[in-house]
C-alpha cells in the first residue's frame, strides 16, 4: 500500500512526531511504500537542522532525514507554516533578506498543494496531530 503522512506537531513537545516516524518505519518494514511526509502547523519544526537534543535522546530531525534518504521518502515542509515560525531554507533566507537558514537539506519546502496531492496519489493519508 502507498502511504502519505501528515505531521502536525513539533518534535519533543508532542508525541505526534514520534508516532508518525514509528508508523513510517513500521510501514516500510512491512514492505509498504511511504511516498511523502508533509510537515504542517508546528510540525515544520521537525525540519530544523539546528536541533540539538541531549546526547542520550533520540534525534528526531536526523532520524527523519535518514529515513528519507534511505527509503526515498519525500520530506516536505509547508512554506507558509515554516516562514511564520522562523524556518527558512537557503533560497528563502536570501529572498527574505535573512542572514541564516535552518532547514535540514534532507527536507524541501513547498506549498500546501503537496499535501492535497499526497491525499490524491496515495492509498491512505495518515494524520498525526493533536
Amino acid at each position: 500500500m502507498k502511504f502519505g503522512i501528515l505531521v502536525n506537531e513539533g518534535p519533543y513537545t508532542h508525541q505526534a512526531a514520534d508516532s508518525a516516524f514509528k508508523f513510517a518505519q513500521a510501514a516500510l518494514a512491512k514492505g509498504h511504500e511511504v511516498t511523502r511526509v508533509f510537515f504542517y502547523h508546528d510540525g515544520v519544526n521537525n525540519a530544523s537542522r539546528l536541533t540539538v537534543p541531549p546526547v542520550d535522546d533520540r534525534h528526531v530531525v536526523n532520524r527523519w532525514a535518514e529515513l528519507g534518504e534511505k527509503h526515498g521518502v519525500d520530506l516536505v515542509v509547508c512554506i507558509a507554516a515554516a516562514q511564520r515560525r522562523g524556518l527558512l531554507d537557503d533560497n528563502e533566507a536570501k529572498r527574505q533578506g535573512k542572514d541564516a537558514n535552518n532547514i535540514h537539506p534532507a527536507f524541501r519546502i513547498s506549498g500546501l498543494g503537496q499535501l492535497v496531492e499526497a491525499g490524491i496519489q496515495n492509498d491512505r493519508l495518515v494524520t498525526f496531530g493533536d
Binding site: H41, C78, S110, L112, G113, E117, I120, Q121, G129
Partner: protein, 130 residues
C-alpha cells in the same frame, strides 16, 4: 494564497473531508486548516468540511478578534462557496452542548447527528483532521 500549486492530478477525484475540532483563535489550527481547504479547491476534488467539538465556534456570527491582534478570518468561511466548497457539516451534539443553534452560524450548513456525520466520514477517501 501565495503557495505554489501543482494543480490537478490526472483527473482523479477523491472525496476529501476536512474535520475542524478546535476553537478559532486559541490556536492556529483553524486558520491553517482553512489554508489547506482553499488550496484543495484548486485540485478539483470533492471537498467537504465538518465542524465538531469546539470547531463549531469557528462558524459563529459576530466574532470580534480586535483585542487579540489576531486577524479575523470569519469572512473566509463566507467566501468558501466561491471556491465551490459548499458541503459544510456541523455536528448537532456539539452545537447543543455549547448552547448554539444553526441561527448562530454565519454560513448555511447541514446540521447532522454524530451518527450521520460518522457515516458521511466513512464514505470519504481522505479525512484530514485539525
Amino acid at each position: 494564497m501565495s503557495d505554489d500549486m501543482d494543480m490537478e492530478d490526472g483527473g482523479t477525484i477523491k472525496k476529501f473531508m476536512f474535520v475542524n475540532r478546535k476553537a478559532p483563535y486559541g490556536t492556529i489550527y483553524a486558520l491553517e486548516a482553512l489554508e489547506v481547504v482553499l488550496i484543495s479547491a484548486a485540485f478539483e476534488q470533492d471537498v467537504s468540511m465538518a465542524f465538531v467539538d469546539d470547531g463549531v465556534y469557528q462558524l459563529m456570527k459576530g466574532i470580534n478578534s480586535e483585542g487579540t491582534e489576531l486577524k479575523n478570518f470569519s469572512k473566509t468561511y463566507r467566501a468558501l462557496d466561491g471556491y465551490d466548497i459548499e458541503k459544510l457539516y456541523v455536528e448537532q451534539e456539539s452545537l447543543e452542548a455549547r448552547g448554539l443553534t444553526e441561527d448562530d452560524l454565519l454560513v448555511d450548513v447541514t446540521v447532522m447527528s454524530a451518527a450521520e456525520l460518522a457515516a458521511t466520514m466513512a464514505e470519504q477517501d481522505v479525512v484530514i483532521s485539525h
